[in-house]
Symmetry: C2
Subunit: 618 residues, 2 copies
Amino acid sequence: MQNSRSQPCSCPSLKLREVASMYFTMLAAFLVILVVALQGSAPQESDFPYKVPLDPQGLLELSWNVSYPEQAVHFQLLIRELRFGLLFGMSDRGEFENADLAVLWSDGHNSYFGDAWSDAKGQLHMDSQQDYQLLGARRAPEGLYLLFRRAFSTCDPKDYLIEDGTVHLIYGILEKPVHSLQAINVSALHGGLQRVQLLKPNISIPELPSDMKSMEITAPDVVIPSQETTYWCYMAELPEGFPKHHIIMYEPVVTAGNEALVHHMEVFQCAAQFDSFPHYNGPCDSKMKPDRLNYCRHVLAAWAMGAQAFYYPEEAGLAFGGPGSSRYLRLEIHYHNPLVFKGRRDSSGIRLYYTATLRPYDAGIMELGLVYSPVMAIPPGEHSFILTGYCTDKCTQLALPAAGIRIFASQLHTHLAGRKVVTVLSRDGRERQVVNADRHYSPHFQEIRMLKEVVAVFPGDELITTCTYNTEDRSRATVGGFGILEEMCVNYVHYYPQTQLELCKSAVDPGYLHRYFNLVNRFNDEEICMCPQVSVPQQFYSIPWNTFNRDVLKSLYGFAPISMHCNKSSAVRFPGEWEKQPLPRITERLRMPVPRCPPAPEPQPAAPVPLNLGQLRR
Amino acid sequence: MQNSRSQPCSCPSLKLREVASMYFTMLAAFLVILVVALQGSAPQESDFPYKVPLDPQGLLELSWNVSYPEQAVHFQLLIRELRFGLLFGMSDRGEFENADLAVLWSDGHNSYFGDAWSDAKGQLHMDSQQDYQLLGARRAPEGLYLLFRRAFSTCDPKDYLIEDGTVHLIYGILEKPVHSLQAINVSALHGGLQRVQLLKPNISIPELPSDMKSMEITAPDVVIPSQETTYWCYMAELPEGFPKHHIIMYEPVVTAGNEALVHHMEVFQCAAQFDSFPHYNGPCDSKMKPDRLNYCRHVLAAWAMGAQAFYYPEEAGLAFGGPGSSRYLRLEIHYHNPLVFKGRRDSSGIRLYYTATLRPYDAGIMELGLVYSPVMAIPPGEHSFILTGYCTDKCTQLALPAAGIRIFASQLHTHLAGRKVVTVLSRDGRERQVVNADRHYSPHFQEIRMLKEVVAVFPGDELITTCTYNTEDRSRATVGGFGILEEMCVNYVHYYPQTQLELCKSAVDPGYLHRYFNLVNRFNDEEICMCPQVSVPQQFYSIPWNTFNRDVLKSLYGFAPISMHCNKSSAVRFPGEWEKQPLPRITERLRMPVPRCPPAPEPQPAAPVPLNLGQLRR
């Protein structure tokens, strides 16, 4: 007992309820004192290493840090022009319904802060457990800083669980005074969403060599088109005779003022088979764009909003230059300009850091998941339909070195219906480790992400990639393929040492799919013409999607043998029999970790915390 | 704030942790005082209206009451010969692993009480949240009384959720002193299980008429066989010319001393088609039992251990006597004698209370669920396979009166693989109300249960009965049927006013099942002979149970049209087309109610409560 310093309390007739209410009163008093105490202290920039603008005008700027020992995120929110408060929070996919919100509001005289949640109709409610913990508020010339903390997991069923991968942040601005939280009309708010990876991995930066050089691949003073979405393409080239180097790091170069417009950028290397590529500087979807630019698809670097510099592990670098490597690079920038600003000029791009002192290993990129084939299809009207792609033990046995490979980064990829992507490593039928998981995946936010832990993969291991799709807005089946309305399920894993294995993906055996079409023909009373000369997509489009046909397709994908693509390049397979392979058998699944909850005696009262912010502007 | 009576505490340097530990210290002190304070008070018998022996010797006797306003059960446990403590608790199906336990233990000097849980290996752990709240302990000449309270739902994931229907109570006796909870070896305990309906409905007893008479149907001084399980059959008969009466209530008559042996009892009326039935008094499975007794299956009354008197609603009674009603009754008693006592004599039975002043309505019994047909089958090795039986809108439209019927009681029935039974009322495609649900159903504990709320069923309503089966110990399919190793899914609902509808059940359309067998033949590479001349059970037995065949059977049952039995008696259908009927469509499901948790400031410390019980006997 540590209460010897306090005055002994003699409370002979104290009842349980009185003890409890006393306890909460004292706790509330303690918190108010805490807020006042922290109002003066100005945190260092380095305290919050990650930063992202929330709105397209950049009026709201979020900085944060992640404490893995505490299992908590500390947020610093800069509000440049505070009106009568704001909402900040998280939700499954960026919607304002069923969201978990920190709310700052003012009735015109006093300001309050509270943890709230919105129900399925968007109505706000005070949370019974206050888990956005206000740590301070500070006025500065640039605006108001709010500091608060949130545990990854709160065990409050109304709260969002902060997980690895994409988090959809939402914000809303209160433009009138409100007298209570309940009075806020979420649907009438000026607000929006921003996707970030909140839980950045805690990786120590490798030492950089003294001979490191850098090269900027940037847009040449482009005028950002005054439309919401532009993909800008710009061709750059390496000096002639540029020898083999290792890229060991890269970072974004974003033109000051355009932080909220430059959504993501990628540098691709062109195919070595062509001696030269034409110059180009214009929108990627322009009819003027030379077709040959479609042969520039090998990713050298990728950045998306909120991401920081990307470092290769100490032992590896990404080879570029030298014989067998194209001199031509394509920069692609996605400008997101929802407020349709006109005449903004931009010279953003990516700065590559490279060295001539080659590191021990070349890094490589391998494609896991599903073959781009229409045999893998998603019925229409599905809320979460799962497709699974396999990299089997037989393929890794043949293609990986005995010492294995180390996966250190991963980029998940689907088209528009993708909602979740997870890759798991399985060994001897037992799932061992998550390679990368994004349970709030968005096709609009595809970053190369450093893994928290490097994953070692050995010959005989299996890599299983599951993608979850939503086709509720579609009226016909979505088949696998390259088209924007077709689907993909891919995890590009970055690893070393580089091997010949470029592609380890699967698709259902076409013979079994044919049996499925026959079964549908025979089982259903409806007359469907599924003549064999009709294409697979046509057969899928003609299926009447009753529950039986849906269920049996799921069962088929969970049972039928697969055709493996265990390839050296997209067209050359490793020698072996790859048709009608058995599905990997999983005898033991990884359990979802049970969220750790905050220690018991740390609740906060379900009441707003008053704040002294002075008079807010009208 | 109510703490004005206490001395104000001046605690200038009090930190959060200190406040919390102070709080818990005070709470613990409060509890110890509570225990001491309650040790003197002797509760009235009427405080605990429900009573059941836990062990076959009757050394442990549990009484309890249910407070629906508090959402809690109060237990009084009488321990006739306390050794070094005991375990009492609840688990999913009566196992000692993953159980929720209240433990009283002694180290030979001091006694302790605590809330514990056992893990999957049977190891005990103190619960971080103490939800079995000790209210008192009292020595009396007959033994030690322990009084404690448990909320239905505690929101502690380690705790059992007390729901409607069967609860598997477990007990264990400590025969040696133990120095801590962790030292208790659950597998070496002398213990057992008892099934009860803990959450008895809170129904007010209807007024009984002054002309009420009673009649005892009891065993004539039977010597209970010295074997674990006996079903005893005894034929009784009503006086000749006994006119129509209404049974309005019945209650058990259990011979004193045999409370732990008489497991359940039923009174059946014989079929009116036979003028007379032979006398019989002997085991039901004896070869000497006349075959004609198999025609005595119409339930008049049923009682099981822990059940109280059964009252018909004020407006209704169960007709017996008069023309068209057999004079012959069969009493069936299940003796459960695991300790194989010899020479115990028993005259238990059921006392019927009846009146000649007929009530406005005759009560009736209707069978819901699945037709006894092999077309409904469960693959082997399933943990929880669900079969569903339907009473469709078309049938209720035709057979029920415009004013509807009122269901007031229900008896669930499956054979040995049954684990859960639930009947739900659906109207216009929306599930409205649970008729009866037992999520811990046991085929060894089939009571007629009064419903908490009378359920009104109108023409056009649908009654959907789902049964969940476990066939993990079986190596071949389990088909529907009458045999003990075949399965049933039935809910006998008791209702008024009586209608002609005796049976409203379904089974999958046999033509669609035939398509399933064909599909299995064609889809699987294995060669299975499923010639049409082979019986349905034989076809099921020959299926290779891979995941695809299992999944597709589930999909079939969830999709294929049904054959309806909408019958006046088991052989006579209502006129109409009953084959290839569509499955009822459900557009809105009932949500499982979110358990209400105890109000926040009522935790108890995770420490055992010391008890002053004096020296325990060695």
